[in-house]
């Protein structure tokens, strides 16, 4: 099982000081957070993609390329890559390039974006959101698997005998997750291809996550990729920790109360009760996270959101220390217990290369 962090990349004022970091500071902070993730023994760093203030990560492969050069083991991923408004040809090229530079430590998560206007900014129609995700990914899937592609669709100019370069590292495309919060069509798409499904459950009650994951698992089996238990599932989570639970609550409350997403709504207590948010001691985070598999089944990837709501870099790095030292080692051990033999490991490039060779030989 893989553990990591995902960042939205928001520039948010620190409500306790009123100070807003500059874009430059935030970008450098994201890189520092990624490097710290490797240092403390986490497996994955994923960045969001946004094209409007107050978000900075508009160019994920640029950032991930830089992180790749400064890390050795960390898997670089996205949360998410906009399959709707990006040109699938450019996604194919950018991520294949990144794959070579990072020696295969790359996967990515497809998403449709959280801002309506992003569609017209890129000349697209939001009412075609699902259709764009379907058609663009179908093309991307081919570009990474066929050296020469002739293609015609509804949304993009046709391709005649086109070769996307560079070809994927070892001829094995990056693993793809499809991220969705509430669209069953995306769970269906992930199942159809036998790709991973990431449910970003951080703002959602458990029963909703359960239903989405169940849909994906049953359709994964329907399409013949394996049993429902063999489907590849990822989940989100968000945490704020101090050794002493009361200290965590006291320190995090002003950030929670003013956060762009959930601020000025339910109380911290109501929100932690109804969603995966955990504010407390490392032990409380361990206990809450272990409950995820009760409704999602044994899964492959757990990503935590830790650098949000205007938290200063220092506090975020302290969160990573606690995750690396106290939380993740216990989670690795506990999640391994009782994990059925048939449940696959989280995907890595090396394992996918080995699997591809096996198929070629047999």
């Amino acid at each position: 099982m893989q553990f990591g962090i995902f960042s939205v990349g928001d520039v948010t004022p620190d409500p306790t000081t009123g100070r807003t970091p500059t874009e430059g500071e935030r970008i450098k902070a994201m890189v520092a957070i990624a490097q710290k993730a490797e240092e403390v023994g986490l497996d994955v760093f994923a960045t969001g993609e946004h094209h409007n203030p107050p978000f900075v990560p508009s160019s994920p492969t640029t950032m991930l390329g830089y992180v790749a050069a400064r890390t050795e083991k960390l898997i670089l991923s996205t949360s998410t890559t906009l399959i709707t408004t990006n040109d699938p040809v450019k996604i194919a090229e950018d991520f294949a390039m990144l794959q070579h530079l990072a020696d295969g430590r790359v996967d990515l998560m497809m998403g449709r974006g959280n801002t309506g206007p992003v569609y017209p900014w890129f000349g697209k129609d939001i009412r075609q959101g699902i259709n764009l995700a379907v058609e663009n990914y179908a093309l991307l899937h081919r570009l990474w698997r066929e050296d020469v592609v002739t293609w015609e669709g509804k949304f993009r100019t046709p391709l005649q005998s086109f070769t996307s370069t560079p070809r994927p590292l070892d001829d094995v495309p990056p693993f793809v997750w499809h991220g969705s919060i509430r669209s069953p069509e995306i769970a269906e798409q992930a199942a159809y291809y036998g790709d991973g499904f990431f449910h970003n459950n951080i703002f959602w009650p458990a029963d909703h996550t359960k239903r989405m994951v169940e849909l994906y698992r049953s359709r994964y089996a329907h399409y013949g990729h394996g049993t429902p238990e063999q489907a590849i599932v990822g989940l989100g989570g968000q945490v704020f920790m101090r050794r002493n639970s009361q200290d965590a609550v006291r320190e995090f409350r002003p950030y929670f109360d003013n956060a762009p997403v959930y601020g000025h709504g339910p109380s911290l207590e109501e929100f932690t009760d109804q969603t995966p948010l955990t504010v407390g001691s490392p032990q409380e985070v361990i206990e809450k996270t272990l409950t995820f598999r009760e409704y999602a089944g044994d899964y492959q990837r757990q990503l935590f959101l830790v650098d949000h709501a205007g938290l200063p870099l220092k506090s975020v790095l302290e969160q990573l220390d606690l995750l690396g030292e106290e939380v993740v080692p216990v989670l690795r051990e506990e999640f391994a217990k009782g994990r059925p033999a048939g449940v696959p490991e989280a995907p890595t490039h090396a394992a996918r290369v080995a699997a591809a060779k096996e198929v070629t030989v047999s």
């Binding site: 259709n131 169940e214 849909l215 049953s218 959930y262 709504g265």
Partner: protein, 231 residues
């Protein structure tokens, strides 16, 4: 049969709730009498905070989730709002804003409102009816408006009876229709069925239609992809 009554009155006791109860009793009497109709009243006042939270978080708290489920599975609905600033109340609208937009499709709805004077009675026609038409509900022809003066005057009781008869007819019709669609055994139930003029929408799954899993319905991916292929 399940009848859900949504009342957006704020005071206790409230004339909105009073109208809601009068309508619910009239509908129950006509839809099969005592025991045949399971009535659930959703008081939006009790859900006001959860509705506001749902607007900020995107998901309903436990009590609101239960109310939304009840609405989405009702055989018929009575919705009653006080008139605030020439329209339905903001709380009333917010409840239907957080409801799944598909939840009312084909569902019979009786619209009603209360106000201080008769001058606002057309709020039913310019505010409530378009809202529920947008949600693809089947809105019964008679809406019931009760101004303060109506409670002591003639006419309100007749309007309640007429609207209730229309809603009960649709509810019986839909239930009978579902039985007919299920098999010939249901045809016996057509005795005492609504007037022939009442259309009975029966949902027929389209060939190669959606498949269900995990409580969701999805279009199989091949169909989704095929629909995008250029001619």
């Amino acid at each position: 049969m399940r009848l859900v009554v949504v009342s957006a009155g704020l005071s206790v006791p409230s004339s909105t709730r009073l109208l809601a109860d009068r309508l619910a009793t009239a509908v129950s009497d006509r839809a099969g009498g005592q025991g045949a109709v399971d009535v659930r009243v959703v008081e939006l006042r009790d859900l006001a905070v959860e509705i506001a939270h749902n607007l900020t978080t995107g998901f309903p708290g436990p009590a609101l989730a239960s109310a939304l489920d009840a609405v989405a599975t009702a055989d018929g609905l009575i919705v009653v709002t006080p008139v605030f600033s020439a329209s339905y109340s903001g709380l009333f609208k917010s409840f239907f804003d957080v409801l799944d937009p598909e939840a009312l499709t084909g569902r019979p709805v009786l619209i009603a409102a209360t106000g201080g004077s008769a001058r606002h009675s057309l709020v039913l026609e310019h505010a409530l009816r378009p809202l529920f038409s947008y949600l693809r509900a089947v809105v019964v022809p008679t809406g019931v408006y009760a101004a303060s003066e109506d409670w002591g005057a003639e006419g309100l009781a007749e309007r309640i009876e007429r609207a209730a008869a229309e809603l009960a007819g649709l509810m019986r019709g839909l239930t009978a229709g579902a039985r007919v669609a299920a098999g010939p055994a249901g045809s016996a139930d057509r005795a005492g069925s609504p007037p022939e003029s009442v259309q009975v929408p029966v949902s027929v799954p389209a060939p190669g239609g959606p498949v269900g899993a995990g409580g969701f319905e999805v279009i199989p991916f091949e169909q989704q992809l095929a629909a995008l292929r250029p001619e």
